[in-house]
Every structure is written in C-alpha cells, then in structure tokens.
Amino acid sequence: MASSKSVDKKGPAVGSDAVRPRYYFDHAASAPRRDEVAEAMAPWQHGVVGNPSGSHRAAREARRAIEEARDEVASFVGVQPGGVIFTGGGTESCDLAIVGVTNHHRRHHESSSIVVSRVEHHAVLDAARMMARDFASVRLRYVEVDSDGVVDLESLHEALTPDTAIVSVMTANNETGVRQPLDAVSSITNAAIPGGTVLHTDAVAAAPWLHLPTVTATMDMISICAHKIGGPVSSGALILRNPVELDAVVPGGGQERGLRGGTVDAAAAVGLAAAVRATRQELTEVCDRVIDFQNKLCSALVFLPGVEITALGASRLPGTVHVTFKDLASDELLFLLDQEGVFASAAASCSSGAAEPSHVLAAMGVDPERARGSLRVSMGAETTEAEVDALIAILSSVVYRLRAEA
C-alpha cells in the first residue's frame, strides 16, 4: 500500500493520495526512513564504491566506513566492535544465531537441543524447526508463556537439558510489545546447565525503545535490524557480546570473521550505523513522548465496545498497542482504516499478505475467535499527538460503523 506512489496509474484515480491524509501507525513493521540515514548512505550508492576486501584507496575508504559503522553498532549494544557481524537483516541475524550455533554444537556433541519461547518471531521459530527437521540429533523444546505472553520460568527450567546448544528468548515481542525477563532467563539457564549455554535474544522489535547495553547485558548474542529504527531494509547485525562458537550459514570469502561470506555492503552498514546513532541520541526523549501517546491511546480505546487491550498489565514497549475486538475481523478493520488513510496491521501475516491466525496470541491462550479481531498500532519517533488524536477518532468511527452493520 505504501508503494502505491510507484504504481503506474491508469484510468480514473480513486481518491488521489495527494489529498488523502496518511497516518502511519505501522512502525513495528517498518519505520520511516530517517533523513540522516539517507544522507549517510548517499555517497555509497553511486559511482566507485570499492570492495572493502581490496587493498587500494577506494577499497580502504569503503573498509573504513564499514569499520566506523561497526564501532557505532557495537556501542549501541554495548559490546566490543569485533563482536558485530553485519548481515542482510533481522531474519538472517536470527538464522545465523540458531543455525550457526546449532550446527557447530551438533558437530561436537551426540545430541543438541534448541530451546525457544513459543512467541518468538518466525525468523527464530522456522530456523529452529528446520534444524530439528533436518537432523535426527537435534531436538526443539518450547518454553511456554503466560496469558500476557511472558515466558514461564518454570517451563524454561523444564526445557533446559545438558545438551542445550542455544536458548533464544526475544527482548520484546513484535506483535504485542510485551517484554521478556532476560536477566531471569539468563540466571535460570546458567544455574540449570553447568558451564552454561549460548543465550540469544532477538532484539529487533525492542531496538527502537530499550537501552540494549543494559537490557541485553546477560545475553551472549543479540540480533538487530536497521529498518525498524529508520534505517534501510536488508541491513542488520548479529552481535556477539561474549565469544560464541558458531558456523557460517553463508560460507565463502571469509568476510565478517568467516561467519558471513559475501562482499560487505558499505551503504547498508553505514545506514544501520546512522540509524542506531539517531536512535541512541533521542532514545529518552522519544520514549517519554511516546509513552504518553500509548497511555492516551489505551485510555481512549478501552471505551470502544468489545475491545480488549492485550497484556495491559505486562511491561510493554512504548510504541505498540495491540488490541482485539470481539466479533470483528482484522481484514475489515484494516480495510476501512486504510480507506481513511490509517496504516496499521493485524501483526501476523503470511507470504501472500493475508492476515494469519497469530501463533503469539495462540500461545497466550487468546480465544481464536477474538484473535481474528486483532489490531496492532505501532508508533515511533515521528509520531505526533495530532496523529494519535486522528487515529482515536477514525478507529472509533470504524469500530462503531462495523458494529452497526454487523
């Protein structure tokens, strides 16, 4: 929908986008590209861009830009620069963590277990399922969550076995914004497994909101991506806080300490660095502002008929408000919101673009009928109070309209 500007229009235009106001409430899907990101990337997107593995001046210039970007990303997460592996995005980072660590483990052990929470992003779930499917020595164990979607620490304890290769629990959930108790996950794991195991956290959804050096301090590996914080898509990093043994998933060329082959994209790395720099600088101020918006939104939405705010009592990211509407369908809510220029999401979608039943809500024990009426509105640094007011007015009218027609 956002790409309609690039579509060749024929025939009569149906309500020109130029006159239709747009209210962007889908930051959690992809945040608006920051101006400073585009400016930082520009020199690396035209003309001679040296291959950073080369030895001449142009190569050295590209290499320098990448290493400066690495320093920036390392300080965003609070690790040594050598721990940053640039990847092609959040999914690839998670895949490298799960597949890379498990492959290394299973080559050295008779059996390997992967422990993940039920509410992980498909990047983690599908990688873990693939390993369990393809290798008889690999087992996948799930950690259950409570009705707010927070990992059940008893369940974690039960899932841990001495052959655990990796434990992966996300920093905060992409659909609901619910935060996970990573410090507790770490201490329980370390107590249960002598010598410990590898702890990975998918911090993609949390990156715009949380101070990662503190929040992920007990994690060995952290996955982030650029486009959730105003950077380019297809750019991310797997960050190693502590030394971890893992295999490459994309071998070839020896780049990124042999863990991710292929020429490093200077523009992508520089774009990620510019995005983390801007995010870090304005973190406190943006959080303070958006928490107010979140409170305002929740206070208004709670009066809509049939609404339930998801995980209202849990610790959540400031930017996300997830709600379910009894007897309404996400498809219809999103259609009418789109018509009014409000861009939101049902949070779970499949490759075709259709809204899917959410595995996150299912794990929380949300009634499937209610889950069909899911809506996620997500905000970011650019969100204004006027937009929040418009959202409240438009969403209310859409909900009342659908209720009247039903």
Partner: protein, 353 residues
C-alpha cells in the same frame, strides 16, 4: 458505483476488473485466501495471489487479501470429506460459491460500503421487471451458470458479471489490450485444495477412514472383485471398475457403505430415468416451481442440459426426458427454463436413490 471485484489471479476476473474501471466505477480488488494447505492449482496459491496483486497494480486499483481459510475449511473442505465418508460426492466449488464468495464476501462488501460485487464468472445477470435473473454465459463452452445455480435475488441484485456476455477469446483480447500479464494464463480446472499432481484420492485418504467393499454385478450377482476404499468410489464411474464375466464394461450403479457393497452393471442396466432430490437443498432463484414443471436440467459443470420434469410428490425428484448415466448423490442439479433455456430457475442436491 463502488465495486468490489473478487480477483482470483486468472484472466477472467482480471478483465472484469479492468472493464469496470473503464466504465468509470470505483473499483477495489480482493483476493480470497481460502486454502492454507499445499496447492498447485486452482485459485488460492501464493502465485495466484501475486498475479492478482500485480494485475491490480497495473490497473491502478487498491487490492486486498481476505483470509477465509478457517471458513473454507469449515464450509467446504470438511463437508467435502464428510460427504465422501457418507457415500456422497459434493461439488466443492459450488459450496465455496454458496458459503464463502456469495455469502461471507457479499456481507463483508456491504459492511465495507460497496454497492456491488463483481466476479469473472462466465454467466450473466439479466434484470427484468425489477427482478434479477441468472443466465448462461455467452460462451457456451465456458458457461459457469451451473456453479452459481443457488444464487437468488438477494445476491443477484448486487452482482456484476462483466465478462458474461463475451467469449473466452474476446476476454483474452481485452486482457491483451489492457496489457494484463494474465492474458494467456491457462484456465484453472481443478479443485483448488487438491494438488493436481496427487489427486482427490490421495487427499481424501489422508482425511478419512476408508473401508473395503465387494464389487457385485447387479444382474448376475457375480462377485467381480473388491475395492479397498468404498468411500472413494463415485456412482456413475467406470474408471477402475473391472469388466463383468461377459467381458463388457461395467459402471458403478450404487455404493452401499453399510453393506460394504459396490453394485455395478452394464451401461444399459445402470441408466436412470429419475433423480431423487434432497428437499432441504432445493433453492428457487426467483419463483417457486410446482411439481409437474418442465425444465432443462444440468447435473455437472461441463454437462449439457437435458429435458426433465420436476416432481414434488411423493417427494422431490426429477423425471428425466431420456435415460442418463447415474448421478452421484451430493452432486448439484441446476434447472433452466424450458421456454428460455439460458435462464436459471433453481438448484438442488441429488439425494441417495
């Protein structure tokens, strides 16, 4: 008018959307995601959704994907499986039209503020004296009025069928003129949730418990053999049936699941002169038909209409003008007017004889 076009990704619905735009309507495309499982054909694969979305982009219209996977499972797939388990052979495309496209989608379109819903079916809506009649498509080879036979005034008054008055060649001509990438895409023939490479049997065997049966020659009483899955045998079929002792072909006349018995006979022995109808399934498009009404009846998607007389007592049935191959219970029969053979009058499901 504000029109919601159901776009399958095929050429017919693509052209339907394009023509409505050219007529100046406010057009929005929607593709229904119906089947969550494996699929290599029909109208719900990711490739078809991609085609529909790309066509909408080329036309410059908004496109949405509506997920009806659960409803499709409940209203179409589960009854399809249950029907076979009970010895019936339902038509899933008709059930999908009835319960999904022309029920849930129509209701949704109304809620979302649309004035009409359009599809790319080869059939026509004729308005006459303030009522709307369903008529056969102009392309006799492609006519799809049969799969829309259950529609009544409530749906027909909101339905647009922009390509119903055209031949398939004309539709492809429009697609080429409009620059639509689907202009030469082959027609889908298959049931969308059944992989063409595996077939109906493989699908049903995964979903229901099959039981064996004895194949008995109807006239001689000879036991000709056994089948391992009586639920997958369809009345009227010849494929897979062994010949009789006389060496002649045999056709399935009756499947008796309770007795684990499949009755077969020579074609002249199995021909039927009447079809029992399930009274609760009978739907009249416009006017209720009385017993004794002469109709043209069609009982398969690619069949030809045959002269028949509707009977209402002792129970609803159809007396055929000429004997016909037996029709499996669960199949739909659509009635057309005798004086105006293009006009649909109603539909019903064939009951067990």
């Amino acid at each position: 008018m504000k029109v919601l076009v159901a776009m399958s990704g095929g050429v017919d619905s693509s052209v339907a959307a394009g023509l409505l735009m050219e007529d100046g309507h406010e057009v929005v495309g929607a593709t229904l995601k119906l089947w969550g499982g494996a699929s290599d054909s029909g109208c719900c694969s990711v490739a078809d959704v991609d085609d529909a979305r790309r066509v909408a982009q080329m036309l410059g219209i908004d496109h949405h994907i509506f997920n009806y996977t659960e409803e499709f499972e409940r209203h179409v797939v589960a009854p399809f499986v249950a029907g076979h388990a009970a010895g019936r052979t339902p038509n899933p495309c008709i059930e999908c039209n009835r319960h999904i496209k022309f029920a849930l989608l129509f209701e949704r379109a109304k809620r979302l503020g649309f004035d009409a819903v359009a599809t790319g079916h080869h059939a026509q809506v004729v308005s006459r004296d303030d009522t709307h009649l369903l008529a056969r498509g102009a392309d006799d080879q492609k006519d799809q009025s049969y799969v829309l036979g259950y529609l009544t005034e409530a749906e027909l008054s909101l339905l647009l069928l922009p390509i119903g008055a055209m031949t398939k060649d004309e539709v492809r001509g429009h697609a080429e003129r409009l620059g639509l990438r689907t202009w030469n895409k082959p027609d889908s023939q298959d049931v969308c949730f059944i992989e063409a490479s595996k077939g109906r049997e493989v699908f049903l065997r995964q979903r229901l418990t099959v039981t064996p049966a004895t194949i008995v020659d109807r006239s001689t009483g000879d036991v000709l053999g056994t089948v391992d899955a009586a639920q997958l045998v369809t009345v009227g079929q010849r494929r897979g049936v062994v010949p009789g002792r006389d060496g002649e072909k045999r056709y399935v006349a009756k499947v008796d699941l309770a007795a684990s018995r499949v009755e077969v006979g020579r074609l002249d022995e199995v021909m039927v002169s009447a079809l029992a109808l399930d009274a609760s399934s009978i739907t009249f498009s416009h006017q209720r038909l009385e017993g004794g009404t002469e109709v043209f009846a069609q009982w398969s998607a690619h069949g030809r209409p045959q002269r028949a007389t509707l009977q209402s007592s002792p129970s609803w049935s159809l007396t055929l003008g000429a004997p016909a191959r037996p029709v499996a219970p669960g199949q739909t029969v659509v009635f057309y007017r005798v004086d105006e053979p293009a006009i649909v009058q109603g539909a019903a499901i064939v009951a067990s004889a």
